[in-house]
């Protein structure tokens, strides 16, 4: 009895494994293809809208409405771009965007780096409290306090000034910059500071001549992340700026398109002008950006 049982269970196991063997190779062979397919479809879901929009912006109107799904336009026209750059100061908007994005990022990084040095190299009472306080500032979107910020700027004469917006952008991301830079400082051995001090270098000199070169990769990826964030900002800029000559691209685009623009091509063209510079930057430097982003995200 027992032997028979063992034999039968053995048999069934063999049968099972046979069946598995018959199934597994198929699944295993299919799996990479399947994953590849899903990956391609997901990538299309994120890129197709942009490609379609880019091509729509150079299609003549009748093609837009007759054959919206045709990717390649039969009679490309650059009318939308011509009218965009002729009738609206999109070049000025672009320059402003670059100014605000880089200005804000630089303010955050320079202040954040110095503070990060203080946190990394000093132990003092209230240190943890301050660091948590700075962290909680990072979690508060700037948009929440748009109204009191508007009044603050009005009272200090910073309303409708480039300086005001840059300082505000800088203040908003100082916490993030400080946390990320502190992470970088912590990886630099203190012995390096000590030997610099022995050679008679002041702390500031140590920071600028010894630490800074080591921090350049971290600073560059941080700069890219902050630049991208500021480039996209709309809410605060739209409240704090009044003079169209000072508008960044986002606000200028809203000024042009508003809530109910119906010119299809103009909307596509204006959106594309917003996207192309930042997308180009991102594609060239994405390795930098991604490593900095995950590092900052995991650490802070």
């Amino acid at each position: 009895m027992t032997t028979i049982k063992v034999a039968s269970s053995n048999e069934s196991q063999i049968a099972l494994s046979k069946r598995r063997k018959a199934e597994m190779p198929l699944l295993r062979r299919l799996r990479p293809t399947l994953l590849q397919l899903i990956a391609i479809l997901s990538a299309i879901a994120f890129v197709y809208p942009l490609v379609w929009m880019a091509l729509s912006s150079i299609k003549p109107n009748w093609e837009i409405y007759r054959a919206p799904l045709d990717l390649v336009p039969d009679n490309p026209t650059f009318d939308a771009y011509l009218s965009l750059f002729k009738t609206t100061p999109f070049v000025t908007y672009t320059i402003n965007s670059v100014l605000y994005a880089s200005g804000g990022a630089l303010v955050s990084i320079s202040l954040g780096m110095v503070a990060a040095y203080g946190f990394s190299r000093h132990r003092f009472s209230g240190r943890q409290f301050l660091m948590v306080g700075i962290l909680s500032m990072q979690l508060m979107p700037g948009l929440i306090s748009a109204i009191p910020t508007y009044l603050l700027m009005r009272e200090t004469g910073l309303l409708d000034t480039r300086l005001g917006l840059i300082l505000l952008y800088g203040a908003i991301s100082v916490p993030f910059a400080c946390w990320v830079m502190k992470g970088h400082f912590d990886t630099i051995p203190v012995e390096l500071d000590d030997s610099a001090r022995m050679d008679g270098a002041s702390k500031l000199r140590t920071l600028l001549q010894i630490h800074f070169p080591l921090l350049v990769p971290g600073i560059s990826s941080l700069f890219l992340i902050l630049f991208t964030q500021k480039w996209s900002e709309f809410a605060l800029a739209s409240v704090l700026l009044r003079d169209p000559d000072k508008f960044p691209l986002t606000v200028g685009t809203y000024l042009l398109l508003g809530p109910d623009e119906s010119d299809f091509r103009l909307m596509a063209a204006a959106s594309l002008v917003n996207i192309v510079p930042i997308l180009a930057l991102f594609l060239f430097l994405q390795r930098f950006l991604v490593s900095g982003l995950t590092k900052g995200a995991v650490k802070s």
Binding site: A39, A43, L143, D260, N274
Partner: protein
Amino acid sequence: MPVVQRRKKNFWRGPWPWLAPTLLILIVFRAYPLGDQFRLALTDMRVSGGEAQYIGLDNFYFIASDPGYQTALFFTIIFTAFSVGGSFILGLGLALLLNEPIRGRVVYRTAILTSWVISAIIVGYIWRLLLNESSAGVFNALFDSIGLQGVNWLSSPTMAVVSVIVADVWRSTAFTMIFMLGGLQTLPTEVLEAARTDGAKAWQRLLFVIVPLLKPLIATALIFSTIATFNVYELILSLTSGGPGNATSTVGFEMFRTAFGGDGGGGLGLIGRGAAMGVSMFMVTLVFAILYIRAGVFSRDYD
């Protein structure tokens, strides 16, 4: 005299000179406005100026019984729940996918990440084009090509709600993906191998090994995206302007409309009432910020 001098020297040697600029800019441009908002919420200040009167909690009483604010709050909660949930599931799925050794995964990752660098206000315009209800919109053209009737993506209140959520999921999935991908790459491979040799199926490995290991990171991602989604404004402004009617108006959108008034947005210039809405957004954000900080304090020291 010598004592004073030593103190002075100690001050300059200590941490405060390094921290002062950051603390100063944070206090002036961040902490002060956040606090000032509470004061403003108790006044009837208008954007046009004039003497502001202290009116106690009237602004809060008003918004609590204002149907416009109630609808906006209700929609904001629904929107946040679905958008955070949707983008988390998709983002985690894509992260798991791109963590596999598939060919060209850097290309796929880059393609998906492009949506992350686009400004919310532009994402709104992109989706207004995609969802266009004339024959030019991609979705209706696709429906048409397979013989289905077009959908009123933005002019029907129900569909507008769905559309806004889909657009926001499209925008925020990449963030969750890159966040979780970073986490997946730090997972100890031995643990996953051990689970595999123990015969754990893929979904078991995900639920009982990967998710518990990534719990802190998952909590962080969810809190970050909840804060960002709850305070949404730009996407709504360019995609639907809160419409049709009031169907997709959010608290952030109501705040801006009340205080500053968009183009044709029926702006009232009521700084005080807008500040009361800002206070409500601050309180909700504060809850999630405290959740995040408490989790952080216990799981890692600030060193």
